[in-house]
């Protein structure tokens, strides 16, 4: 097998590439993690070009959220914690079948139905923090409008009720973790993970909380908003006063524009997925009919032979 040329830095075709059939409903194959990692490690030499994730900066300067979230917090939270997750993830996936996959796919695959594979923590935390910075903006807070507000009123009773439920979830997430507003559109069994709210059937907005690095992608939800409740997110500014941090987050930091646009794409993807499922179901029906015709023909010829 050709090993990567150190001077030209061209990657050798790695035998252990794994392709996911599609998105979240895809792989039911067990990921042969350790075995492939060893194979790939042997074949990869120096100077191989591999896909790497970048540390994306927040969409505003680091002091833009003062005094609610200090520049110092950003220097550590983005500059150290988030950066470490990115660097460590890149190291972990280099030369493995995860290399080249999208971040969301890596998160879902390494979640592994709760039996976390080593890169999960870093991958999920990279995704979570990207999502978190974009959930905030300078001069944020206030109330949402339009369809988002309508859905909030429908699914929580009122905006105030939603805020209360969201803050309660965030305050009662024991230890490290996150609280989320998600759009729940799935009705089917999720191949890769346990769905924690299997009884609700309608498409609706839901508040959920998750420990450590876990995020709602693994439950096949569409995340719309998050707040980081790891202590490092608020300790420099609020020390132990997590409830104060959450109040300020809701009142002064939330970017409802981001949440609204995420809701729009979530609904679009959900509709598209439903159409896909319909199409596949129709295909199977057609294929089923064709199959039975073939059987009939076979029987006829059988009769001919026996006679």
């Amino acid at each position: 097998m050709v090993v990567a040329n150190a001077t030209t830095g061209i990657a050798s075709p790695l035998k252990c590439a794994l392709t996911l059939s599609q998105g979240f409903q895809g792989s039911t194959r067990r990921l042969q993690w350790r075995k492939n990692e060893r194979q790939c490690a042997r074949k990869t030499g120096h100077g191989v070009i591999t896909a790497k994730f970048d540390l994306k900066p927040p969409p505003y300067p680091m002091d833009a959220l003062e005094p609610h979230m200090s520049r110092e917090t950003f220097e550590y939270h983005w500059g150290k914690h988030h950066r470490a997750y990115v660097d460590n993830l890149n190291k972990q996936i280099a030369g493995t079948e995860l290399d080249g996959m999208t971040l969301e796919d890596i998160v879902v695959v390494t979640y592994n139905k709760g039996d976390l594979l080593p890169p999960f923590n870093n991958a999920a935390q990279v995704w979570n923090h990207d999502f978190f910075w974009e959930s905030m903006k300078p001069g944020g807070g206030g109330k949402p409008a339009g369809e988002l507000l309508d859905l909030i009123n429908r699914d929580f009773g009122s905006f105030e009720e939603f805020v209360k439920e969201f803050k309660t979830a965030a305050a009662t997430q024991f230890g490290s973790g996150w609280a989320w507003l998600v759009y729940k559109a799935n009705r089917l069994e999720v191949g890769n993970a346990e769905n924690p709210l299997p009884l609700d059937e309608d498409k609706k907005l839901v508040v959920v909380k998750s420990p450590n690095a876990v995020n709602p992608l693994v439950w096949d939800y569409f995340p719309l908003l998050t707040v980081d409740v790891w202590e490092h997110a608020y300790y420099l500014d609020y020390q132990n006063r997590r409830p104060d941090y959450l109040s300020i987050f809701m009142e002064k930091l939330v970017s409802w524009e981001a949440v609204s646009s995420r809701l729009d794409s979530a609904k679009a993807r959900a509709t598209e997925r439903e159409r896909e499922e319909e199409r596949k179901k129709n295909e199977e029906e057609e294929y089923g009919t064709a199959n039975s015709e073939a059987v009939e023909m076979y029987l006829e010829s059988d009769d001919a032979v026996s006679d």
């Binding site: 230890g175 973790g177 490092h232």
Partner: protein
């Protein structure tokens, strides 16, 4: 100033005059002292019982404000006197040193917040869930009893773990950082090769712990073996094995180090050994395995 709310309930009818006499007598003898178990004021109890008999009271039921039982000097024992039930409540134990005594390993600011805010909050919430549990048990509400278990584990575990933690630490001028001698020292060499190896192992496991939790040096009292173990959130060491006894625990929740060490947990782990109270660990170990 604690307030003692007393209501007297009589099985047998007595005159109001009688009842108020009892009340006056009790109050004049420092009624609130009745609940100061640490001073073992049994005399007061007898006196009170005698009064009850004298005045023909069959039963006396005392309702008290929670404040009485959370006095710092109070030991925590349920009041079994006169046949009534109460929920044991817990209070914040004092630190055996000043907040600044562990500097520069752990800052005074952190010790302040860690003790007076975080530990106190665990205790407050633990007491609350115990009350709710008591209530649910009395009512026979099994599903609430079960539902409360996680709050009890979180907050009770937080109280248990931090109570050990404060004793695990000592100022340098009081022996903090002095390596263990005696049987624990030997056991460490036998189990890990050397003290340095143990420290390295604990630091590695503590640094690698995702999220919040603790790293422990413990002893398996059935196998007489030292172990290094981690627990998540506020799970006590015993959740990893019923025969495990904690000797030393290091809190690796971010609140334990963030203001001083920020994201560099390994530096915190390196420095905390300078104030580690090996004397306490040895005492616990020798209690499990007394030297013959």
């Amino acid at each position: 100033m604690e307030i003692c709310k007393v209501s007297l309930w009589f099985v047998q009818e007595c005159t109001l005059h009688t009842a108020s006499n009892v009340l006056l007598v009790a109050l004049s003898h420092g009624f609130s002292e009745l609940f100061d178990i640490k001073r073992q004021n049994r005399a007061q109890v007898f006196y009170f019982t005698n009064i009850a008999e004298t005045f023909g009271l069959f039963r006396l039921q005392l309702w008290h404000s929670r404040h009485l039982l959370t006095k710092k000097t109070l030991a925590t024992q349920p009041l079994g006197i006169l046949g009534f039930r109460s929920v044991q409540t817990f209070s914040l134990p004092d630190l055996p040193y000043d907040y600044g005594d562990l500097e520069p390993a752990i800052s005074s600011e952190i010790m302040h917040l860690h003790h007076q805010k975080h530990h106190q909050t665990y205790i407050t919430n633990y007491n609350k869930s115990l009350e709710q549990l008591d209530d649910a048990m009395t009512k026979g509400d099994a599903s609430t009893v079960v539902k409360l278990q996680s709050a009890i584990k979180f907050n009770g575990g937080g109280h248990v773990n931090h109570s050990i933690f404060w004793k695990n630490l000592a100022p340098i001028h009081e022996g903090g950082g002095e390596p263990p001698k005696g049987s624990l020292g030997w056991a460490i060499d036998n189990n890990f090769g050397s003290l340095e190896a143990l420290i390295q192992k604990m630091n590695a496991e503590g640094a690698a712990l995702q999220g919040s939790g603790w790293v422990w040096l413990g002893v398996d009292k059935e196998l007489n073996r030292l172990i290094v173990e981690t627990t998540g959130n506020q799970d006590p060491l015993v959740t990893k094995g019923p025969s495990l006894v904690p000797l030393l625990g290091i809190d690796v929740w971010e609140h334990a180090y963030y203001l001083q060490y920020k994201n560099v947990r390994p530096d915190y782990l390196k420095n905390i050994w300078k104030v580690m109270n090996w004397k306490y660990a040895s005492e616990v170990y020798e209690k499990e395995f007394p030297e013959s």
